[in-house]
Amino acid sequence: MMTWRYRFVLLSFVFAFLIISLRLFYWQGVKAMELSARGQSQYGQAIKLDPVRGEIRTSDEFPIAANKLTYQVFANPKEVKNSQKTIDLLAPILDEEPASLSALLSLDRFWVALKSHIDTDTKTSIQKLDLPGIGFDDKSVRFYPEASIGAKLLGFVGKDNEGNDTGYFGLEGYYDRQLRGKEGIAKQVHDALGRPILAKVNSASGEINGRSLNLHINRVLQYVLENELKTGIEVNGAAGAMAAMMDPKTGGILALASYPTFDPRSYYDFTDTEYKDSFITDTYEPGSTFKPLVMAAAINEGLVKPETKCTICSGPVSVGGYDIETWNNKYEPNLSMTKVIQESDNTGMVFVSQKLGLDRMIKYINKFGFGQATNIDLQGEVTPNIRPRNDWYPIDLATSSFGQGISVTPIELLTAIGSLANGGKRMEPHVVESIETPDGKKITIPPKVVNQPVSEETAKIMTEILVNAVNKGEAQFARLKGYRIAGKTGTAQIPVAGHYDPTKTIASFVGYGPAEDPRFVMLVVYDRPTRSIYGAETAAPTFFHIARKAMEYFNIASTEEVDDSK
């Protein structure tokens, strides 16, 4: 029989165990997180890792937007021993006024920034001075080895409301989330003196640095295109210019530029107007560069053939109370469809539009992708609306057949013409070929066929018509001899306050080559050229200058004998 003392001891033990169990539960359950964090802070250290922004590389893997180290010089005024000597030594190196440095060093603070974004050489020369109280913080910033080449394509890296690096416009804007990476935490175990020790918990969390972009952009072609466009603006006295070159088979953008432009290194000195890439954000009336698409639609529907005669081309055509004339007011009866494109004859196109009819015209405008986003991977693409069917008047059908009264973006026109160069298949335009993770894994963006507006046969016929237009049309003086290039000039008047200003035009040239196996489709546009208002005399020469260099670059031999004596 248990004595009362035995029971007391037993109960005491049970009670003690209960108390200990409760306390252990409190530590290991309720306070577990807090104690774990406190423990980690005693033996380890969490280091904030700033992500390095991903690079943007051209097709030859050259980074046209890379990163470089810059430094911020700071001072602890309380540790600066000889202020005057420090100011005298630093002012010339930092290119700062001694008075402003003196003001900063006289502040009652432990940390003042003296200058940001200094380069490594400047930092080294300051370090050699061994000045007490002067230190450096490093920071990775965007670096553009090719200066402002591809600026509109790239966009720029600025700051958001919280002061974080953020991409704006172009690729930096569109792919900001991929490029920026994610702030990471690295845990490091250290000893009592703060020295790191080998331990399993030394690790960084996940993928920190940003992903890089590998572009379809060809650095050589981009350089050539930009230089030719810059020269062209000066020669033609244009208010602006834009051009792009695309691989019609993949939709890969090989080069793209527009002017006026900006310098991404000093983006803050420019305005929104200069940031926007007018090739995807501006709309314009394409003029005669639209004619091949309307003609292709009529051929595809079996309504006309290259040899079909125009029965209304002997003089101005009256539609809905308006007289439609040719650009040079010259008329040729029974013009064939091949010659309608060659002569860029507006009355001939009215003939085609009448054959086509409104429903089929709207159907093909949609099939060629007008009024829909092309989904190019650049920030800011604009999609002009095509007017609803009920708002079309007979004059609209007639004028749209020669590219007036209809608004498009240059990228829309480029991809539409690209379909003629690609056996009738319209490709989705893409600047980025693949996205590369920091550990080198490539995520390829495959080419995408959007639709097939016209048959392969129609595309071939249209190509021959366009080759003829280049060889015998108004821009034949500028053509690239020895090669079969398909192309069409465009001179569109600009609508101003309800009427067209005959002195202000958008002059353009669109084409592709070599015609038998196109490697590129290209559109060159000049905004209000003053030397000549015609696309044949402004955009066409630029187109062929670029095309010649592209043929050389692609190592494409000429297919026709060149006789320089002619």
Binding site: F62, P63, A66, N67, K68, L69, T120, D138, S140, F143, P145, E146, A147, I149, H190, D191, L193, R195, P196, I197, L198, R219, V220, Y223, G482, R548, E552, A557, S558, T559
Partner: protein, 93 residues
């Protein structure tokens, strides 16, 4: 009675051996923190140097830089290209 004594002695030997091993091991890795710190500093310095060198390489190999240097050295752009697309005859007429 002999068995427990042997067991205790064995235990003591194991404990002493393990203690010695721990002391030796702790002694041998006690300086790794300093070495690790140095290696980390070196890695950081090399990384920074690499970034500076990469910047120089990219600047010097940019088309902008190459074309301006070529121009200053007197190179001019070729105006015509000779394309040999078929064998030329040895002699004409």
């Amino acid at each position: 009675m002999k068995k427990p004594v042997l067991f205790i002695i064995l235990n003591l030997v194991v404990i002493i051996t393990l203690s010695i091993v721990q002391v030796v091991a702790a002694n041998s890795i006690s300086t790794t923190g300093i070495e690790l710190g140095k290696i980390q500093d070196q890695t950081l310095a090399i990384q920074k140097k690499n970034e500076v060198l990469k910047e120089q390489v990219l600047t010097l190999s940019s088309l902008t830089s190459i074309s301006s240097r070529a121009a200053s050295m007197g190179f001019v752009e070729g105006k015509s290209t000779l394309v040999i697309s078929q064998p030329l005859p040895l002699a004409r007429r």
